[in-house]
Structure formats: structure tokens, C-alpha cells
Amino acid sequence: MSKVPVSYKRTDLQSDQEVKWCPGCGDYTILASVQSFMADMGISKEKIVFVSGIGCAARFPYYMNTYGLHTIHGRAPAVATGVTVSNPDLSVWVVSGDGDALSIGGNHLIHALRKNVNIKILMFNNQIYGLTKGQYSPTSEEGKKTKSSPFGSVELPFNPMSIALGAEASFVARSVDMDRELTAQVLQEASTHNGSAFVEIYQNCNVFNDKAFEQLTSKEGRVANRINLVHGEKVIFGAEDEFAVTIENGEAKVVKRTDIDDSKIYVHDITRENPSVAFSLSRLSHGPYGPTPMGVFRKVQRETYNDDVINQINFAKDSKGAGDVDKLIRSLGTWNVD
């Protein structure tokens, strides 16, 4: 990615379109976080592309004064793959929701992550279908009563962090709409990652699923339940740092610090090649309930799809020379008729 010393005001990143999310929607906060972050990202705005699918979150590109493509339900990672492979010099961001990314677009999500395509996927998880007015989503809790599940959902929800890690994602992180500082940190880490990045952002839908993340956003919950993952530091949390995370037999556990020696506390390492520890951290909670890890789970370098595609093309041009159509159409042997 070519970086130029550009610096914008947040308003430079705002398009002239009126933002039309419901008043009080968590999307407003995320939009502000992204615009502020991108003002200082150091990439000129003509090189930034936002691609989205369908859903409330998917309106995001219209509000960014960058290039934008609002596409069809679930397909944004595939569209974005076409964009970034065609022009690797662009900074390509996908904005998606839990229904868009994990239900109708599940296939595209896992393959973009597996291939390590150089795109940054922001999944706003509100655990509900908002734009269609309130059906349960693949991240809604079991038993959720909605218009389409009046007797309660009978489905086990997905754990988005586990899915991303299972799909070989090289960058996996989680934030929450209200925490603009954490969101900025996570976006910073994602933007400097060469490869696909998956960022889940818990997002409150105050109309159809209000307070879904209260255990992580209320005054008490924020302190009691958020396990902040910081690279190189011991994983400790709680109002008085009274809890810690250990890894025993490959399994992450929440323990009282009084029950163990401090040397047993897991020291977070986002660069571990093996995703097992990150995966076990993702299993500490199966949703925003009780102690829940936040921050960057994993950030490892591996070959990106983009680079490999370009390398093959460059190699072909170096070894065969630039293509010549006259030679190509004669390559299977010819004969002359006089």
C-alpha cells in the first residue's frame, strides 16, 4: 500500500449525503470512529474504496467521501476481492452486518479470509435483522423472541471470532460501537495488516434489539466483563484486576487471581502461527455475555492472494515476454492455403 503524507479533517471524509440510520443507532458512532481514523490513516481518499452488501450497515459507503460500491446481499467480500485484485494499490474496506456476512454471505466471508485477500472486513454485529424490521439473525441468542420466532429461536448462534479463526483468518479482532478508542486502535491494527482482516464491532440496534451488549457497555459491565486483549501483556480483568485468563491443556479459562500464581497468567501474543490459543480465547464467551475478550485476537503475516496473483503475472511476463495476440492465435500450429 502506497502511503502518502496526507492528513484530512474528519469532515473531509464525510459525503454530502444525509445519514439515514435511526436516531440513536450504534452505526453513527462507528461512522464517526471510521471517519476520524481515516482522516489520519495516511492514505489519500481516492485510494479508499468501501464495498458493502445489504442491510443497515451496508449503507455505510454512501456516507464516506471515498469511492464506494453498495452491492447485493452477502456478496461484498467477493466484489471487494475483484476490486483489490484488479488494483492492489487501493485500500479496500468491506462493511457488513451479521446477517449479511454470516448468513447469506457466509461462503464469501470464509473464502476471502482463507485466501487472505487484502481487504478489511468490518462486521457490525447487532444480533438482529434491522432493515427487514426485526427477525432473529445467525448471531441472535437461543430462545430469542422476534417476529419470525414468536416462540423463541431454536438455533445456536455463531461465534464470529471462532468462524474467522476457523477460516484461517490472518487478522481477527473485536470492538464495540461505544468504545471509540478501542475501535480506533483495532482499525489502526487492521489497516496496517497486509492481508484480510476481520473486525467484529458490536453495534446496538436501539429499535429492534436494544441493550443487547449491555453486559459490556454498562458502567458496571464494562469493568466487570470486558477482557481487554493487549499484545505482550498478561490478560487480567475485573474491577480490581481480580480475574485472569490461563491456558490449560490448550483451553482458555477465567480464573481468580488469588487461585493461581501470576506466572500462570496467559500473556497475549497476537503473532502465534497456530490459531488454537486465539480460538480458545474466542470460546470464553459465546456472545456478549459475561467475561468477553475484546481487542486483537490474532495478527499473523502470511502470503496474500493479491501479492501471489501479481507475482505470477510478473513472472509470466518476465519469462515469456509481454503477450502478442498474433503469436497467440498461431500457437496451436498453422498451415497455409495458397
Binding site: 460500491l69 452491492t71 466484489v79 484488479s86 519469462s319 515476454g321 498474433d326 500450429g333 498453422t334 492455403v337
Partner: protein, 621 residues
């Protein structure tokens, strides 16, 4: 045993204008390879030719059964031909099932070459024969030659390093060697080909060459084969030729189109028969800056292609019928966002999985109408392997010039059949224009839907261009600004504009041409792969004194401007199609004429004679 050498020949050579040969065997018997080798040798010799490969959808269908039979038909001629021939005059049958499946097509007094070693009771029963067909009298009326292909192979390879059952893999070379003798084709080209193909397996190359020569020598030694035939070079227009099939022609056309438009080619696809060979071919040509993207599914293939188009590539996705269905929503997005894109559909028998390896023209209405909303787009069709090259360029030209998705139809017959192609010079191909822009088009900022008022195309500003940042998508857009708009007048205007933009392309395409007797009362109108059959049938009828003309559509949407005038100058219009009547619906609706259909969905193309007979019947009705 020493390597066999070619014995002195004591043959008589009869010159014939054309011959149609069909090779048939188990799908593992290598019949496609034998057919292709004979074809390529004949092409290099200078014959005109056309081929029709036919194989089961299964890679290795049950051995010895009718379902597992694979065949390859080729017609070679010393004159200009358009079809792979009607009834073969030579049938090579490697086993009883191949005989049972193909004997009914063999011309009276045709030459029938049997692999006698395969006619064991077990195989005879498996093929569904109650009696050995060689003894039941059903081969009366044919010239039967029994050849011990397996014994000859084993004998030829008894000192080879190839052992056991692997030895018999070379038995197809006996058939190729023998046919090469009977039709006076030299072996050098095939020997070179074998050596190159098995460069790293010299013992396999050696085994194949030995058996090839053994088959040839069998012809020399056995007196029954001493009457041989030769088909002279065809008197084709002067120039340099190559032999191509439609998938390769189409692939090369896309590569050429990218160069001609000074864009890079992006091809997004998911493996599907019979379109996969386009993906295979294009993935070889990375030195042309071609990006091939093998997607996780058909939808992703189309979606990534839309992304590539937004980024300024010549963006193409390819598939066959079931895949076109999956791409439908994405094509509507490209149509609504007015992004250029080519969608190649190599048609096969449907519905559903249908007949994956057989030709059919049954996706025409789907190509025209298979999208939600009011969503017209240009549709054109390739009529032959070499025409596929030019239609790939034409589809790209229209997509880029008019900022629209374009569907290019091919089918299994065009895709896998081959013909000689008089090669063009790249410099004589047209350069392709596009709507790329780097300039602001208004004082108030960039207007992504501010149209060119001759083509009605919108400007194409790609990410990376400073000052032209804009957002587009599938929601209805306001004319000019491209901003989301739910305004009712605007939606009416945009819907009409999208339709008008496509209809207007009629002014920019080749007019329809007539073939045959222009003063006749009857016109045969076709599209796509029926071209060879229709044209040859009409020419035959004209020679017989039957008054009839033909015309063949490349564009089905929009129709060429002169179509109405041409139709109105004939009393009767006959429309043959490999479907149950699709173009005919369009013609009846648009021109209000009582066109008559000739329709077939039998998994095989029309033969020229079949069409000639049916056209004559319709004329006499």
C-alpha cells in the same frame, strides 16, 4: 521384437471429396484423443473439417455399457464444409456397446472397423445384445473389418517396459494407425505430438508410437485394407489457417479484446462443464496481464467481476446454464450500476443439471429475461468456433462502449467442435473505445450518471482517480448525480433510459445478411450453433432447385435494424432451434408473423440433411 518399421505399400489410392469418420469406444478408451489427432493431422494437411465430440458427463462411466460410450466424429473435405457430416461413412467401434450405440447412424455400405478382441460374451451381453451382432446378420450391408486390436497391442509391447493392464491403454493407437493408413495420413505429426506429450515418460511415448506404427502396418499387411482413400487439400480462401474449437476461440477473443481496448482482462469463473476450458485457457496467458479468478461459487465469480469492472478492467465471467441462474442477481446489479461486463454462457442441455456434455440452445429466453425488474441487456451468440473469437471482441466492444453487461451465448457444440480458421492480423482488428475518465464533468463535482448523449453511456471513473470519488450501487440512482433516489418520475426515466440505451445499440451492429436464393418465398432464420447445419441445408436445397434463403442472427437483443425489412420480404419464415421454440416467440411477438419452428432437444445438433428434409417439408405444407 524390433521396433516395427513401415512396410512397403501395395495399395491403390482412390481420391474422394469428403469423408465422415466416427470413433467410438468406452470413455476410458481414448477416443477423443484419437479423433483430435486425426483431425489435427488432417488440418495441417490442408483439409477443411468440422468435428463433433460427444462424451458422457461421468469421467469413467461403467465400462462396456452404452452409457459409458464416448465418440468423436470428424468430417474432412477438399471443399468448404460447415458441419461435422451427417451419417458417418466410417465407424470405428472399440467394443460391442460402441457398436450398439452408433451403428444406426452408419451410412449404407459404410466401413465398420471392430476391435474383435472386445467381442466377448460378457461385453456383448453388457451392451444389451442377445446374440453376437457379428453373427446375427445385423451387420449385413456394411463393410466389416475385424481387427484384433488388443492382441496386436500386446504383441507390439511384449518387450516394452509397460506391463500388465497398462499395456492395453495404447490400443487406441492401433485404431489411429490403421485409419491413418486407410486415409493416407502420415504419422510424423502424431509421433512428434506423442514425444512432446510424454516427454517425461519416454517408455509411455515409446509404447504409443510402437502401437501406432503397428496399426499402420496392419493396414499394409492385410490385403483387405489395400484399397485406400485420399481427401485432397481444400480449396479454401488463401491465407494462414489454424484449427480451433469454440472455447479456445472465445478465450483468445477475450484476450484480443483486452489488448484492443488497452485494458487488462479479468475473468471470474467457477468450474462448470462445458465452460471450464475457457478458465483453463485464460489462466495460461498471464503474460497478457490476464487475471483469472477461480471463485468459491458462481455468485462470487460474477460478484468479483463486478468489482473488477468498477476498478477499470475488461471484466468477464463465464459459466453454463445453472451458473447463469446463480449469477442473475449480480448481473442485475451491473445493469443497474451501469458497469461494463461480459457474461459468457456456454449452453448445455437443461433444466437443472440436465445434459452437461450435450448441446442445446435453451437458455436464450433466460439470457434475455432471466433477471428481476426491468433489466434489458444485449445478447449475442457465437455460431462457430472461429466466430466465437469475433463475438468475444464484439461483446466486449458493446459492453465498454455502452457501459452495460452483455451476455454472450455459446453452446457445447460450438465450444467443443473445431474448424479451420483463416487467421486475421491483429492490426486489422478494430480498436475498442471505452468511457474511462479522469476529469470532472460538472462545476458541482463529479456526476457519475451524467450520460454521453450519443451512446447514453455514463462516465467510467475508477478508484484511484483524485477528485472523482463517488458511490454507486443497486439502489435506484438519480440521473446525473447517481445519488440514491426513490423519486417516482426519476425511476420511470431511468427505467426508460436503460431500455433505450440498449435498443439504440441496433444502430451500431452489422446488418443481417442473406444467404441462398434471395428471391425465394421462404427464409430460414437461425441463431448460434445451427449456422453450419442451416447454411449447408439451404445450399443443398438451392442446388436441388428448391427456392429458399437463410439468414443468421448474431445479435438477438437488440435485433439488427434491417431484420423487419428482411422478414417482410418473405412469405414464410422457418426458425430451426435446438430448443422447443424460443427465438420464434421473439420474432412472432415483435414482428407479428406466423413463423414456423423446427425444433429438437435430443442432445445432438441438427444434421444438414435432417434440416434440408424438414425445411422442404415445411415449404411443401
Amino acid at each position: 521384437m524390433e521396433e516395427p518399421t513401415l512396410a512397403t505399400d501395395k495399395k491403390t489410392v482412390e481420391s474422394i471429396p469428403a469423408i465422415t469418420i466416427r470413433f467410438a469406444g468406452d470413455s476410458g478408451d481414448g477416443m477423443q484423443l484419437v479423433g483430435t489427432r486425426f483431425t489435427d493431422t488432417s488440418a495441417l494437411f490442408g483439409n477443411d473439417l468440422a468435428t463433433l465430440p460427444s462424451f458422457p458427463a461421468e469421467i469413467r462411466a461403467p465400462q462396456g455399457t452404452i452409457a459409458g460410450v464416448s465418440s468423436f466424429q470428424v468430417q474432412i473435405a477438399d471443399f468448404d464444409i460447415l458441419t461435422p457430416g451427417d451419417n458417418p461413412e466410417v465407424l470405428v467401434a472399440m467394443n460391442p456397446a460402441a457398436l450398439k450405440a452408433h451403428l444406426h447412424d452408419l451410412a449404407p455400405n459404410g466401413m465398420l472397423i471392430l476391435n474383435e478382441d472386445a467381442f466377448e460374451e460378457k461385453n456383448i451381453t453388457k451392451a444389451g445384445y442377445k446374440l453376437d451382432p457379428r453373427e446375427s446378420g445385423e451387420l449385413d450391408g456394411y463393410r466389416v473389418f475385424e481387427v484384433p486390436m488388443e492382441k496386436l497391442t500386446k504383441e507390439a509391447l511384449k518387450d516394452s517396459e509397460i506391463k500388465g493392464r497398462a499395456v492395453l491403454r495404447s490400443k487406441n493407437m492401433i485404431a489411429l494407425g490403421l485409419i491413418s493408413w486407410v486415409f493416407n495420413r502420415p504419422l510424423e505429426d502424431t509421433v512428434n505430438w506423442i514425444n512432446k506429450k510424454f516427454e517425461k515418460l519416454p517408455e509411455v511415448a515409446d509404447a504409443n508410437i510402437k502401437t501406432l506404427k503397428t496399426g499402420y502396418n496392419f493396414g499394409i499387411t492385410v490385403e483387405a485394407f489395400h484399397h485406400t482413400y485420399v481427401v485432397d487439400k481444400a480449396k479454401l480462401p488463401a491465407g494462414e489457417y489454424t484449427n480451433i474449437n469454440g472455447n479456445i476461440g472465445l478465450s483468445w477473443g477475450l484476450v484480443a479484446a483486452a489488448k484492443l481496448s488497452e485494458l487488462e482482462l479479468f475473468y471470474g469463473s467457477y468450474p462448470i462443464t462445458p465452460a471450464s476450458d475457457i478458465l483453463h485457457e485464460l489462466s495460461k496467458h498471464k503474460n497478457f496481464d490476464v487475471i483469472t479468478f477461480q471463485a468459491e461459487d458462481e455468485i462470487a465469480a460474477a460478484a468479483a467481476t463486478v468489482g473488477a469492472s468498477f476498478t477499470g478492467k475488461l471484466a468477464v465471467t463465464g459459466t453454463s446454464g445453472p451458473g447463469l441462474a446463480l449469477k442473475s442477481e449480480t448481473i442485475s446489479l451491473a445493469l443497474s450500476a451501469e458497469l461494463p461486463m461480459v457474461i459468457v454462457n456456454v449452453q448445455r442441455g437443461g433444466p437443472s443439471t440436465g445434459l452437461p456434455t450435450k448441446p442445446e440452445q435453451s437458455d436464450l429466453l433466460f439470457a434475455l429475461y432471466g433477471r428481476h425488474g426491468e433489466s434489458p441487456l444485449p445478447v449475442l451468440a457465437s455460431r462457430s468456433p472461429s466466430h466465437a473469437f469475433y463475438t468475444a471482441i464484439e461483446a466486449s466492444r458493446i459492453a465498454l462502449k455502452y457501459m452495460t453487461p452483455v451476455i454472450l451465448l455459446s453452446d457445447n457444440y460450438v465450444a467443443t467442435g473445431s474448424e479451420p480458421w483463416l487467421l486475421p492480423d491483429y492490426k486489422d482488428l478494430p480498436s475498442l473505445s471505452n468511457n474511462l475518465t479522469t476529469k470532472l464533468n460538472s462545476k458541482d463535482g463529479f456526476l457519475p450518471f451524467h450520460r454521453d448523449m450519443t451512446t447514453f453511456a455514463r462516465p467510467w471513473a475508477t478508484p484511484g482517480t483524485p477528485g472523482l470519488e463517488h458511490r454507486i450501487g443497486g439502489l435506484e440512482k438519480e440521473e446525473g448525480t447517481g445519488n440514491v433516489s426513490y423519486d417516482s418520475d426519476n425511476h420511470q426515466y431511468m427505467t426508460d433510459m436503460r431500455a433505450w440505451k440498449i435498443a439504440n445499440i441496433a444502430n451500431d451492429i452489422e446488418p443481417l445478411e442473406l444467404n441462398g436464393d434471395e428471391k425465394a418465398d421462404t427464409l430460414v432464420l437461425g441463431w448460434g450453433s445451427t449456422y453450419g447445419g442451416i447454411t449447408q441445408a439451404v445450399n443443398r436445397l438451392n442446388e436441388k432447385g428448391v427456392k429458399v434463403a437463410s439468414a443468421h442472427l448474431t445479435f438477438i437483443n437488440p435485433f439488427p435494424d434491417n431484420l423487419g425489412e428482411i422478414l417482410s420480404s418473405f412469405k414464410t419464415v422457418i426458425i430451426p432451434e435446438l430448443n422447443t421454440g424460443q427465438l420464434i416467440k421473439l420474432i412472432r411477438e415483435r414482428f407479428l408473423i406466423d413463423a414456423k419452428g423446427i425444433n429438437k432437444v435430443a442432445g445432438v445438433p441438427f444434421t444438414a440433411q435432417e434440416l434440408a428434409d424438414k425445411i422442404e417439408e415445411k415449404i411443401n405444407e
